[in-house]
């Protein structure tokens, strides 16, 4: 197994930031850890890589116990950390070559691998550019290429697309899909639900250090939430208070569950037909009918209030 985590706990002082999480990665699968800021995603990955000692629990990475033999296990793991850690003193190519040396890869073999890695990152034209001159998306792609220097079986990526514009995110997704189709095992963290839904075979939603839902995106959606969502917003003709007022008087009647957030009512339903017919007959109200997605599950399970603020 690429990775098995069993009942992992991690405390800093009196605060327990990881509170008993367990999951296992199957070879060739893409597994996403979802969670709001401060949920414990990075801490979990640091434990997995042997960068910090768990307070309790067992970790096996590439068949080796962590932290005891983490260093040996990392020979077969590529890591994309949350923060940029590229070497600013070097060019793009040099970053790859120097990193290969940390894996004990001979210089000639490393040099032979560079063109493939540059092509993967789409950085052929930037081969001799210094790192500080790269855009955020290029740095991310170079960090991914760097994680691949030793041709690892398992890739661990902490928020690979955070802070990137849509073009850059799509490019990264593309690369990640490529890696998945090559049969690599991926463990990634994200707070983008669409990213997880798009890429991951299985997800785990992490909140306050605990896994509160786990499975394929479809399973998680089916288990935790009604299949359809109708978002209602705008003015309500002939009534004060718009969509919120409508929700207060009518939403419960037409939906299994509803929530009002700001000016919008979210109605969760098994079947939307009756609700849609009702809404069509109301003046002014606008509405959006769509299938439930992971974001709905996430908001249901972790609440709508901000974290870490």
């Amino acid at each position: 197994m690429p990775l098995t985590v069993t009942d992992l706990h991690k405390s800093y002082g009196a605060t327990e930031v990881v509170r008993g999480i367990s999951f296992q990665l199957q070879p060739g699968e893409c597994f996403a850890l979802l969670g709001p800021n401060g949920a414990g995603k990075t801490t979990t990955l640091r434990c997995v890589l042997g960068h910090t000692e768990p307070s309790a629990g067992r970790i096996e990475l590439c068949g080796l116990p962590v932290p005891a033999r983490a260093r040996e296990a990392r020979v077969r793991v590529g890591v994309v950390p949350q923060n940029d850690s590229l070497d600013p003193d070097f060019t793009v190519t040099e970053n790859l070559l120097v990193f290969a040396r940390y894996f004990g890869i001979p210089a000639t073999a490393a040099r032979a691998r560079v063109p493939d890695l540059l092509a993967f990152a789409g950085l052929e034209a930037k081969a001799d550019a210094k790192v500080p001159t790269l855009s955020g998306g290029m740095k991310r792609r170079l960090t991914m290429a760097r994680a691949l220097v030793a041709n690892p079986d398992l890739l661990i990526m902490d928020e690979p697309t955070t802070g990137l514009d849509p073009q850059a995110r799509h490019l990264i997704w593309d690369r990640l899909k490529g890696l998945i189709s090559q049969g690599k095992t991926l463990l990634l963290t994200t707070h983008f639900m669409d990213e997880a839904e798009r890429l991951a075979h299985r997800i785990a939603i992490l909140d306050r250090g605990q896994i509160i839902a786990m499975g394929t995106p479809r399973e998680v959606i089916a288990e935790h939430i009604e299949p359809q969502v109708v978002e209602v917003f705008g003015e309500w003709a002939g009534h004060e208070g718009g969509a919120a007022a409508w929700a207060a008087t009518h939403a419960a009647q037409f939906s299994s569950r509803f929530e009002v957030s700001g000016e919008t009512a979210f109605c969760y339903v098994q079947d939307a037909d009756v609700l849609l017919a009702h809404l069509a007959a109301q003046g002014g109200l606008r509405y959006l009918h769509r299938p439930a997605n992971l974001e709905d599950v996430f908001l249901k399970l972790t609440g709508r209030e901000m974290r870490d603020e």
Binding site: H51, E53, S85, F90, F99, Y102, F103, G104
Partner: protein, 261 residues
């Protein structure tokens, strides 16, 4: 809290990779870097050696400029190792996350720290050697003696790199290093006989040179350069080595506490 006292996990090959990384960065700036390292001691040597030296009779049986030059070798080796361990070390360990990146590869904190200490010592050996070269060219020491001094220069570098990383592991930012220089490095230059003989100081202060590492670096390097022999060489070597090892041992625990908590 992670365990602080763990067995050493070190391989020479892996530490060498860290050393090579730093050499690669340095090599493209080698000439300006060496000239920069030389400028400061040369200004001291020429200014004080010629200017002040003209006023002074012989010092400890040699000309003042010879006395000063031989002290300067140890002094600037110390400075080179200290600057590398503190400022460049801080950038790599904390600011630009170079250590974090390396530890995501199959390297341990010990590999990285030891590689860095060896590098800082190597870099100080480069600048110490450059000064030795100048001294031999000026005829202030023989080249045989200068060659014999190289291992002591390296050991001096190791010593100050080792203890320098204690400061690096504690520093919240670059400003912290001012304390290291004003409270430790600069007083040591005054107390350990770089610019004038220890005998000029009150007796109770002279003892400081017996415990401070720079005193032992100068105690070994100066007589070797001037006369080709050192009394009590092994004591000096032992003290410098102990400082280097204790420095690394302490920095290792502090770095672990900071980076792997």
């Amino acid at each position: 809290m992670s365990k602080l006292f763990v067995p050493l996990d070190l391989s020479p090959r892996r530490a060498l990779a860290v050393w090579q990384r730093n050499l690669k960065v340095w090599s493209r700036l080698a000439i300006p870097s060496l000239l920069g390292n030389l400028a400061d001691p040369l200004i001291y040597l020429l200014g004080l050696g010629l200017g002040l030296g003209a006023l002074l009779p012989q010092v400890q049986g040699v000309s003042y400029i010879s006395f000063l030059a031989t002290g300067t070798v140890a002094f600037s080796t110390m400075n080179a190792a200290t600057f590398e361990a503190l400022y460049s070390g801080f950038a790599r360990a904390h600011q630009q996350k170079t250590w974090e990146a390396i530890m995501n590869a199959p390297l341990s904190l010990d590999d990285v720290l030891i590689g860095e200490v060896l590098w800082a010592a190597t870099k100080s050996l480069f600048s110490g050697s450059a000064i030795l070269l100048v001294i031999t060219v000026f005829g202030l020491a023989s080249w045989q003696h200068a060659l014999m001094a190289l291992p002591l220069v390296l050991l001096t570098g190791l010593c100050f790199a080792g203890i320098g990383f204690i400061a690096t592991s504690l520093a919240p930012g670059y400003d912290f290093f001012m304390y290291w220089f004003t409270l430790f490095i600069s007083p040591m230059a005054m107390l350990c006989g770089v610019f004038f003989p220890l005998e000029q100081l009150p007796a109770f202060i002279q003892g400081a040179a017996l415990v401070l590492p720079l005193g032992h670096a100068i105690g070994a390097i100066r007589p070797l350069l001037l006369h080709g022999e050192v009394s009590g060489l092994w004591l000096h070597v032992l003290v410098l080595l102990s400082y280097a090892l204790c420095g690394v041992a302490i920095a290792r625990v502090l770095m672990r506490r900071r980076l792997l908590r």
